[in-house]
Symmetry: C2
Subunit: 249 residues, 2 copies
Amino acid sequence: MTKNTKVNAAILIIGNEILSGRTQDTNTTSIALWLNSIGVKVNEVRVISDIEGTIIDTVNHLRKAYEYVFTTGGIGPTHDDITAQSISKAFNLEYEIHKEAFKILEAYYKVGEFNEGRQKMVWMPKNANLILNPTSGAPGFNVENVFCLPGVPSILKSMLGGLKDKIVGGDPILSHTISLKTVESEIAKSLTNVQEDNKDVEIGSYPFFQAGKLGVSIVIRSEDQSKIDKCGKEILKFINKKKIEVVDR
Amino acid sequence: MTKNTKVNAAILIIGNEILSGRTQDTNTTSIALWLNSIGVKVNEVRVISDIEGTIIDTVNHLRKAYEYVFTTGGIGPTHDDITAQSISKAFNLEYEIHKEAFKILEAYYKVGEFNEGRQKMVWMPKNANLILNPTSGAPGFNVENVFCLPGVPSILKSMLGGLKDKIVGGDPILSHTISLKTVESEIAKSLTNVQEDNKDVEIGSYPFFQAGKLGVSIVIRSEDQSKIDKCGKEILKFINKKKIEVVDR
């Protein structure tokens, strides 16, 4: 297989609790940082409700638009956990007991504790591939390029490592941050010039307010370290000329 | 105007820094909680890159699909701030200097400090309505049902109050949470029965792990307090029967 230099992905957060503002999503950050480290760039995130039709339509759109899709949430034992059956419908697959998942959970729980509620968690799309869960037993799964993970952040994080062999990333996305004691308007024009001279590098400018400090972080991102270095030098050049202070952050 | 009982919205987070995992989005939570309080329910959130075509297409989709759209990010002075010109293109409007915004920033900055970078922030879609910014001067704006806010969380929060007169909400969305010392599988079946008997109420079940406590929060949401009360009673009934402990959270 020829390695793609650029590989993209979408994240789909399934859960009314994020949309209502009750729960702060942190899974996007965890997944995005991990994907970056293996050379996969997240191009889009969507957060949707626990509604079957919405899940089916969104998954069917995203799985065609991106190389990988990661869903979070909705694979637990309660009535509002409808991700597995929705994915089955999206792929036109039977929704059935996954024998290997059944064996895993039967061994995980004490005799008599693998009750009806827990057994719901072994219902999956036919022939789904399991994603092992070192924290709480119940596996996630993938069908083709759609990877379904739980919503609880600590459990999700513990499962990412086990995904590594299933994802073929491109070149890792490298980044370099230069933080400055200045305001964006001071550097806007010079930074535009650097961006125009380096169109294939992503240069972002982010104001920060932290511990009484007002400043701007410039973030340079590329798969090519030499391109980052070139931009960094050009930025430092105008910063020195303007006598702007570089700060730790 | 007849008041709609259900009013919906989408949030569009514009910014590579969220997609890369570098910055944790918190604006979704701030906007969603505030919208709930004035009777607007967030049905979808999308996070997209700073790419003009992507912004235009997404805004044009969302503004037709939902009653309100709130964008965050991309209205500052740097080259990666392209929300205002993208919104102009989405609505087929001229992108031009907004006279009122110009006056506000001219008065806000000291003489000589309203430089070229800062002047970029008064370029907006023709006839845009301003959203005042009590924190840092530069206003946001809305065109029809699309409201454009900045990405910096503290500034965004300070601007929400000024939006109240521009948004016509429905009935406030009420919620009641019951937190339990149990695991989801213990209550899954009984909770399904309550949901089936109360189809127009949203009942969510969320496991938590906090300070050594393992538990489940059940969240009941509706515009109608009496429906929440009815569900709450039915849930407490099966909880008492199962001798499950209710906990503070």
